[in-house]
Point group: C2
Chain length 131, copies 2
């Protein structure tokens, strides 16, 4: 095994991720939520993709999977018209995005809360310093 980095004074940082499964697959992930948020902000799937540096194809597939699996449409799209089409969140889409953001906040709160005990537990078994 390669040499250990000197991390004896670094503190472990707790990280996490949450997502929502439905019908046997992940339907609302961090990437999907970011996409919904940018669709809401820009009114456009292609502009949302550009801002997130997703390929248009990736954004489309992500949205399509979420839109098909969710019980109700999350995004409604218009083709043509005065503003050249566009995409907007449905009320169900706004509710899903908001509930997902709440969940992320609960995760961060939990991780912050757990951090001191985690660090104590890990340090409780540190080897005695060499003389």
């Amino acid at each position: 095994m390669a040499k250990r980095a000197d991390n004896s004074s670094a503190e472990p940082v707790l990280r996490g991720r949450v997502w929502v499964d439905l019908g046997g697959g992940a339907v609302l992930t961090e990437a999907a939520a970011d996409l919904l948020e940018q669709i809401e902000a820009t009114g456009s799937l292609s502009e949302a993709a550009r801002r997130l540096r997703f390929s248009y194809r990736r954004a489309w597939v992500l949205l399509d999977a979420a839109n098909r699996r969710w019980p109700w449409a999350l995004v409604s799209t218009a083709i043509g018209g005065r503003k050249g089409g566009g995409a907007t969140l449905t009320p169900a889409g706004r509710a899903a995005l908001s509930a997902y953001r709440d969940l992320q906040i609960q995760l961060e709160t939990m991780l912050d809360y757990a951090t001191p005990a985690f660090r104590r537990a890990v340090r409780s078994e540190r080897p005695a310093p060499r003389r």
Copy 2:
């Protein structure tokens, strides 16, 4: 967009994952914790890898990264000897594994707790049924 699946009666299921960063990278992940657990159970990295259906290379790289980044060695290895070498968790390794499992339990508790409110929030904006 393709047709939406009929998930109107399915309930969303909250899922999550936690990991530990140290020195700028993930060091204790679910896969690393599973590997530590199986090393503890079997006394052997290759047997641990086999049980988890990890390639030996994957297991080695995972363990090496964790062992190098963690402030103290998580696993000690012996070469040769009566039992043909082997791997065991150090006290620091056992403490890290146990603290990680505690963290997973806290995540599951949080997700269970958050589920009813999440489902209510999502359903609050369901479209009115068509007549």
